[in-house]
Symmetry: C2
Subunit: 270 residues, 2 copies
């Protein structure tokens, strides 16, 4: 393994690009290889065993490209597959739930935190368990928002439809008096302005993906696998199992990378 090897990112679709965006900003010398399983998105409503299996298949695809670290840039997959993958593979594996949880505990003043995520993430109580494991007196209100990922993946995240769906879905949270809300799905930062608008400016929004980049940086240093500064051999790679053109549009729109070339990935199913 070499320090020049890439960091691998996997997600059920385009959501993990919000983590990549932050990685490109904070860690400009790190090569990125990204795989979005857009053909099988969303993961949220799928049975646990299936999410584990899909996550393993994506991981295998990236391991063959010699990644030095794996980031599960998907809350649903982190919730059910992180511990399993850590035991199965030899490189460091990072999920998005712990960084988001830690930041929420730091940020809340009234010890009332809302977490929004997919059905799978909410059913796992991964956020509630992590937050209460560190801070037992904190009340965690978890809410599944199953309509959000399809809105983002269909590139409707800045439409009047999105605004209406976000307002309706978050209604039950309005009276819970939380001062902090975790965007517990890497797709949700694309809906951030709408979520902030519904929750009000007094509620601090936490992007678990962005927080994850701090952990990536620290672990690259700890394991002494950070890339050297000022390298000039950087060419990021993006793969999608489904539509390539939709992926390229969102990458351009969100990453500001207008010349991203996305390749179609063929996943080997065990």
């Amino acid at each position: 393994m070499s320090n020049l090897d890439a960091i691998g990112f996997i997600d059920s679709g385009v959501g993990g690009l919000t983590v990549v965006k932050e990685s490109l900003r904070q860690l400009p010398n790190e090569k990125v290889i990204y795989l979005g399983d857009t053909a099988r998105c969303p993961y949220g409503p799928r049975p646990v065993e299936q999410v584990i299996q899909y996550t393993r298949e994506m991981t295998q695809f990236l391991l063959e490209k010699n990644i030095k670290m794996l980031v599960i840039a998907c809350n649903t997959a982190t919730a059910v597959a992180l511990d399993i993958l850590r035991k199965e593979i030899d490189i460091p594996v990072i999920g998005v739930i712990l960084p988001g949880s830690s930041e929420a505990i730091k940020r809340t003043s009234n010890n009332r935190i809302a977490v929004i995520g997919t059905e799978g993430t909410v059913a796992s109580h991964a956020y509630g368990n992590t937050i209460n494991g560190k801070s037992p007196d904190t009340e965690v209100i978890e809410l599944a928002c199953p309509k959000f990922v399809p809105i983002v993946e269909s590139k409707k995240y800045d439409t009047p439809l999105a605004k209406m769906v976000v307002a309706e879905t978050l209604k039950p949270l309005k009276e819970k008096k939380v001062d902090c809300l975790v965007l517990g799905c890497t797709h949700y930062p694309l809906l951030r302005p709408l979520v902030q608008n519904v929750m009000g400016s007094g509620v601090s929004l936490i992007d678990s993906g962005a927080e994850t980049v701090d952990h990536i940086s620290m672990l690259l240093d700890y394991f002494e696998i950070a890339a050297p500064a000022k390298r000039n051999d950087l060419s990021h790679e993006f793969y999608a199992t489904g539509s390539v053109s939709m992926f390229e549009e969102i990458a351009a729109d969100w990453l500001g990378l207008s010349n991203v070339e996305v390749k179609k990935a063929k996943i080997e199913q065990d």
Copy 2:
């Protein structure tokens, strides 16, 4: 190993208590075992091989107490012994130089950073190399302050003598136009008000020890060895190889732990 085991902290003397202070604040459920080598302090002017040997002996003392993580809360020892110890022992080992360097890079606006430390730390260029490895365009001005540790260890850190020594020592830095200064020795936070006064309010001071606690927290989580919340079996242990009473005074004065009982440690020399 159990999650209830302690985090071990070693330092040449009382300086590492500034890291412990921050650990007690941020990680209140973690048991601390601290060893200060006050009998052989300061480490700064000693030859590299001797610092490595002393650090090994302190580490051995703490390993026999079943620590789950080792924090080298001493810049001089981190500079020369961190990489060696990581290869020699099985638990995670954390030093103070990387966290301080990373924070300095984040904090500076004009890319001019001063680092003050012992002769050993400055001669190793550990800060300069770490900072420039990540940020090659940043200018790092390293200055040895050999008189600072004796002032702190003799509990004269808030006297007119200390004020004069700090002002004289830092004079060469005044015209360097740095906007950020790393307290690159865990003793120096006890001189912080004096350093700030000499450098002026426009210079941001970075306490490398306090930054280290963020890394400790993240690695406890990564390796899944964090202590459970709300434990009621916490009794910290403090050991010094030299004077116990002086150590207790500074612990009370700085940690605000008035009932710290410090035990005399007998270090086995190989």
